[in-house]
């Protein structure tokens, strides 16, 4: 919030020399930007100060592990890395299935620091990557907004973005996830696009493709760019804003960008094969058609042109039909119709919950609630509409882009909580514009009302307006040099050209008419500052309290001080040091990444949910009775089973609460697991009313084994009830480790019993019959999908 105050305060300087003033303003803006960067970095350090410098949550652990591998083995090994410690026995080709942007960025920073003999550990670099890149992102926001509405709006938007809670939630120190660098890449790509659109420079267009390449490297969200920019191009064409600048801004991006995107192994031919990218190609074609039409129009007489139009339209239609037919054929041949599940759930919010439980089970893929908007963007939610209005006066190419950006991202954020992150920069940009315009209006009115400095304000008003128009002026200059675009310059540039001419006097008169009453403008100004202060307070609170927890360490405040629950790491450290290095650990997929990274043990499934069947197998095992589960796990060579249990201390996101998803995902592949078997009258319960299937399934038993001995009743503090089955024994598993607060329990599979001669024959015959008869297997017989 400091930014607009200072920048507006900087305006009434006593310097009459304009050049000096500009230089002074530039230096001031530079320092404000520097401070914004420092603030963006330091507001994200709450997690380090309150907790420790540690990697957070789930996915960051995987990224951290990949970065460690990269730092240790080098880039070529990294591309060829086949990871055999996960998805046992399938393994995973890491080099070909990760977005390498984040890893390569952190790896490069680490390498650079180490070659300067600054011995920071890979972990430290990973922890601080996200705050560093949020500083970059706020600078990129400044650049983008400056292109749209001038320096003041840019600084305000940068300051807002530096502390927007939505972005903080994904980029606190330690939150080492793709989004950390991707948001910077996203904004920077948009900036370069707008810059190219404003200047028509091929240099920026090339840079834009490279920025897009970086974005593709970093995050799957790059499809947002490759759909939003074509939409904007289409919008420009439809609204008659076609210009050669638009062509330069778009055509190189599609060609170069697609070529570069195809270089990223995880994208590869998807860059031309999947439906997410088709919009860009379609618009590419339309753009060429339009450009061609303008060209023809330039060289032909109007009469001839009409004839040509009819010709082109008919031919074009035919070509389009052909292309669309080919596309439809291509798309229809792929099973998901060319759309990935996540993208489909974007378009149809109910898609995932209907068809893909594994996507629906992730909390960040749920639609957000209204309070989460207030939590994540706070007052920006009210400023956004004002900003959109400000974008319309006057509407330029750049501001229309911002309007389109915010409109689409609002929709996407409404579909998935996670995409709130894409919405946040747009909200910051529009709010920055709104705030800065409001400040502009109020301060100007105050200045006009105050006697004595009215002579200054004339120059000042002219100065500010020329500053905002500067970018567009540049655009106009380039336009003049280009022959083709001369025919139909956009409305905006016409207006600007006119505005250049009239004297400042006339303008100041016009401004005088717009001036608001002194008292009302002072009060509004104060209210605006109050609003800003409220935003700052909220952001600091969010950064310090809501989003700083690393989630692997939990704390609770009670009357006798701070209590730390470090059970996860206790369990992982135990696994790391006290089990054989090749032992396989089965757990629900949430804990896969952490187990491989912290415990260095092979897991069956992890958070990269690429194989639904495999996850369903684990889900089936967890929902099966002990013997069947033992058989499944044994066939997977599992030695230890890890469950997370929060019943003793009241940790709500434990495996019992996730259990229905295991049943659903398991039942989706293995139909003998039926969700109603686990529900009593449609209710999920674990007390004495629970169904026998529920009380006998492995997850229940592993969670509550000997739990009753802690308090004599077996009272579960998460479910707020006494458990249904209290005393039972495990026959195929044995408890080998339980953490201090019982949050992680590790069981070992008992070795198979020696076969007694008489019995072995019988079991063998059973086995053969079950394997020979597939239909029987899925029925009442064996429930092990791996036999």
């Amino acid at each position: 919030m400091a930014a607009p105050e200072i920048s507006t305060a900087a305006v009434p300087t006593l310097y009459t020399n304009n050049a000096l003033r500009n230089a002074f303003g530039g230096v001031l803006a530079f320092f404000i930007l520097l401070l914004i960067g420092v603030m963006a970095f330091s507001i994200r350090l709450f997690s380090v100060i309150k907790y420790e410098s540690v990697i957070h949550e789930f996915d960051p652990y995987f990224n951290y592990r990949v970065t460690q591998f990269l730092a240790k083995n080098g880039i070529y090994e990294f591309w060829n890395w086949f990871d055999d410690r996960t998805w046992y026995p399938l393994g995973r080709v890491i080099g070909g299935t990760v977005y390498p942007g984040l890893t390569l960025t952190a790896g490069t920073i680490w390498w650079l620091l180490n070659s300067l003999n600054i011995p920071l550990s890979v972990e430290t670099v990973c922890v601080f990557t996200a705050p560093i890149f949020s500083a970059f992102a706020s600078w990129a926001t400044y650049l983008l907004t400056k292109e749209v509405k001038g320096t003041g709006a840019g600084l305000t938007a940068a300051a807002l973005l530096a502390m927007v809670p939505s972005y903080i939630s994904r980029s606190v120190a330690g939150s080492y996830d793709n989004e950390a660098v991707a948001i910077f890449a996203l904004i920077f790509t948009f900036y370069l696009y707008i810059k190219t659109l404003n200047t028509g420079s091929l240099f920026y267009a090339t840079l834009n493709s490279i920025a897009y390449f970086y974005m593709v490297c970093s995050w799957g969200g790059y499809t947002f760019i490759i759909n939003l920019i074509p939409m904007h191009v289409l919008l420009c064409i439809v609204t008659g804003r076609f210009s050669s600048r638009l062509y330069i801004a778009y055509a190189p991006l599609v060609v170069l960008g697609t070529l570069l995107a195809a270089l990223v192994p995880v994208v590869g031919f998807n860059a031309v094969m999947t439906s997410e990218h088709f919009a860009s190609f379609l618009v590419f074609i339309i753009l060429h058609v339009v450009a061609f039409a303008y060209y023809i129009k330039g060289i032909l007489t109007p009469k001839m042109f009409k004839v040509a139009v009819t010709l082109v339209v008919s031919v074009g239609l035919a070509v389009c039909c052909a292309v669309i037919a080919v596309l439809i054929a291509l798309v229809a041949s792929s099973p998901t119709k060319g759309w990935s599940g996540r993208s489909l759930s974007l378009l149809d919010p109910t898609y995932a919950s209907k068809y893909i439980p594994i996507i629906a089970s992730v909390s960040e893929h749920q639609p957000p609630t209204w309070p989460s908007y207030f939590m994540d963007i706070n007052v920006l939610a009210f400023l956004v509409p004002a900003g959109i209005i400000a974008c319309f006066s006057p509407l330029s190419d750049a501001s229309s882009f911002v309007v389109l950006y915010i409109a689409t991202s609002v929709y996407f954020s409404g579909v998935m909580v996670r995409l709130m992150l894409v919405f946040a920069p747009a909200a910051c940009i529009t709010s920055g514009i709104a705030l800065s315009q409001a400040f502009d209006v109020f301060t100007r009115s105050i200045k006009f009302q105050l006697p004595g400095i009215s002579s200054n304000t004339e120059v000042d008003a002219a100065e500010t307006s020329s500053a905002t128009a500067k970018a567009q002026n540049d655009a106009v200059k380039t336009e003049k040099s280009e022959e083709t675009s001369k025919n139909r310059p956009s409305k905006k540039s016409k207006k600007k050209e006119k505005e250049e001419k009239p004297s400042t006097k006339a303008k100041s008169e016009k401004k005088r008419l717009l001036a608001l009453p002194l008292d009302s403008s002072v009060i509004s100004l104060l209210l605006l500052i109050l609003l800003g202060a409220f935003y700052v307070v909220h952001c600091v609170w969010a950064a310090a309290e809501a989003y700083s927890a690393p989630s692997i360490v939990l704390t609770s405040r009670s009357h006798d001080g701070l209590h730390v629950f470090d059970d996860f790491r206790e369990a992982y450290a135990w696994l790391r040091h006290n089990t054989d290095v090749d032992d396989k650990v089965a757990s629900w997929w949430d804990y896969g990444y952490q187990t491989t990274a912290m415990a260095n043990r092979t897991v069956i499934v992890d958070n990269n949910t690429w194989n639904n069947t495999h996850i369903a197998t684990v889900g089936t095992a967890m929902s099966s009775p002990e013997k069947a589960a033992w058989e499944i796990f044994h066939s997977l060579d599992v030695k230890y089973v890890l469950v997370v249990f929060g019943g003793l201390v009241g940790y709500p996101s434990d495996d019992i609460n996730k259990f229905l998803w295991m049943v659903r995902i398991g039942g989706g592949v293995f139909p003998h697991i039926k969700e109603p078997d686990y529900l009593r009258d449609g209710q999920y319960r674990i007390d004495s009313q629970a169904t026998p299937t529920m009380l006998n399934c492995l997850m229940y038993k592993l969670s509550y084994y000997r739990f009753v001995e802690t308090d004599g009743k077996g009272y579960d503090r998460v479910r707020q009830t006494e458990i249904g089955k209290k005393y039972f024994k495990l026959t195929h598993f044995e408890e080998v480790f339980t953490t201090h607060h019982w949050m992680v329990r590790i069981y070992k599979l008992k070795p198979p019993k020696n076969r007694i001669r008489g019995k072995s024959k019988k079991s063998k015959s059973q086995k053969t019959s079950s394997t020979s008869n597939r239909a029987k297997r899925s029925g009442t017989g064996k429930k092990n999908p791996w036999h």
Binding site: V54, N117, H577, E709, V736, T738, T739
Partner: protein, 467 residues
């Protein structure tokens, strides 16, 4: 692993006992021990043996070397041997430490290993002196049963000889063994043998010739945890800006009876006196006073269970591993702390500086199998040399730290099988010019200056082709 060792031991013992009556000619035959008393303390996992010898020179030539003999099985576990002589009478006694060195004798029976004690003044013919010898054994208590469940207590074997192995004739000798509790399952009887409470008395035995040996085996309960640091790397980094940074990397293992079967948290928490009595719950590290910025972490982050108590004389750091260590369980962790430099760095008379620091492991009552001490000298220091009170392996390395150009010299010292007795001071001497302290700040300022010059230059150069 266990079986062949035991077989070898038994074989060694029998062979040695065959030598019972064999009298051998030895160069020091003119010595004899008129009275020997041995007290063996078995209360912790470090076996402490206090040996009081009254040595008499029965020969004609004065001698200043006295030999101590150890069977080869024991000598592998021998951590340290100290000998001292008390001088003066009553109140005015002074203790004189004597040099002890391992010695090879060409005709040692059954690979018996020797240590020579060098007396300060030679023992004349007919004179006698009293020596106090202290030696410590590590890894000498063998858990039996080798694997125990959570609720069982830990029983161990201790093997030794009822008679002191010595190249000299011993006129009279007694051995006392002190077990940690009264729970002694069994012990070998070599009459006269008595047991009173926790103590067993072997002897007195009269007039035993040299190399007498009589194996004994004691099976008793020892529920103290056996903290063994398999590997410890201590890095001491000197910064002449006033800080001494110590980083210690531990690989800790519980060396007692291996844990078998289940670990039940509910039993462990509800009945701590019965369950996991021999488990390692916490460790105490004694750090120097005025310690600051202490951290305790492992490869996956901070470990929150530690307490630091400081006073003017010492600091105590109580650390809990992430999980209680049962027999055979391992944990790795890292302790780091900063110390004020002036407490440890001094200037010697010849204009050199020296660091005076403790060598061993700060954890109390811990055996260290392998210790590496690295002293990182500041960049630009020359002629390093280390003075350590006991033999260590030494070499030099170069380490590059923050913005180093030529690198820092690292004095690396390695030693195996350490006990808390090794916590004595060592010195590292080096020369250092204070000018080198300014090298890095100057380098940084130069770099920034050049950067700004480059910026200014770039802004004033017009690189465009078209004018």
């Amino acid at each position: 692993m266990e079986a062949p060792i035991r077989a070898r031991e038994i074989l060694g013992f029998t062979l040695l006992s065959l030598l019972f009556f064999v009298c051998r000619s030895s160069p020091s035959h003119n010595l004899l021990i008129s009275n020997a008393e041995r007290r063996i303390d078995l209360s912790s996992h470090i076996v402490k043996v206090y040996l009081t010898l009254k040595v008499e020179n029965a020969g004609s030539t004065p001698t200043s070397e006295i030999l101590l003999a150890f069977p080869p099985t024991q000598v592998d576990h021998l951590a340290t041997v100290e000998a001292l002589v008390t001088k003066g009478k009553r109140k005015k006694t002074t203790i004189v430490h004597l040099d002890v060195k391992p010695t090879e004798l060409p005709d040692a029976p059954n690979e018996t290993k020797y240590f020579t004690i060098y007396l300060a003044n030679p023992l004349n013919s007919g004179e006698s002196t009293t020596l106090e010898v202290l030696y410590l054994f590590t890894h000498s208590l063998e858990p039996f049963p080798a694997e125990i469940g959570q609720s069982e207590s830990q029983l161990v074997f201790y093997r030794d000889s009822a008679l002191i192995l010595s190249p000299y004739h011993i006129k009279q000798q007694t051995t006392f063994l002190k077990a940690p509790s009264t729970k002694v399952e069994s012990f070998t009887r070599v009459e006269p043998t008595n047991r009173a409470g926790t103590e067993m008395k072997y002897g007195p035995y009269e007039d035993r010739p040299s190399y007498s040996f009589s194996p004994i085996l004691i099976h008793f309960e020892n529920n103290s945890p056996f903290p063994v640091v398999e590997e410890l790397v201590r890095e001491v980094e000197i910064s002449h800006w006033g800080n001494l940074q110590v980083t210690e990397q531990y690989t800790l293992v519980h060396g007692g009876a291996r844990h078998k079967g289940v670990f039940s948290r509910v039993d462990y928490q509800s009945r701590p006196s019965l369950n996991g009595v021999s488990s390692l719950r916490y460790l105490l590290a004694r750090l120097p006073p005025r310690v600051h910025s202490v951290y305790y972490r492992d490869e996956i982050g901070n470990i929150s269970s530690s307490h630091l108590r400081t006073d003017s004389r010492k600091s105590e750091l109580e650390i809990e591993p992430r999980y209680p260590l049962f027999g055979g369980w391992k944990a790795t962790f890292l302790i780091g702390y900063g110390l004020p430099l002036q407490d440890f760095l001094f200037e010697s008379s010849d204009d050199r500086r020296y660091l005076n620091f403790t060598f061993g492991c700060p954890l109390l009552d811990t055996v260290v199998d392998k210790l590496t001490v690295k002293v990182v000298l500041p960049e630009g220091s020359k002629d390093p040399s280390a003075v350590v009170p006991f033999p260590v392996e030494q070499h030099f390395e170069t380490k590059y730290s923050y913005l180093d150009v030529v690198g820092r010299t690292v004095v690396v010292m390695e030693k195996k099988n350490l006990v808390p007795v090794h916590n004595s001071h060592f010195q590292v001497y080096y020369t250092f010019k204070p000018m080198f302290m300014l090298a890095e700040p100057l380098m940084l300022t130069t770099a920034f200056f050049l950067f700004f010059v480059a910026c200014v230059a770039y802004l004033h150069i017009d690189l465009s082709i078209r004018k």
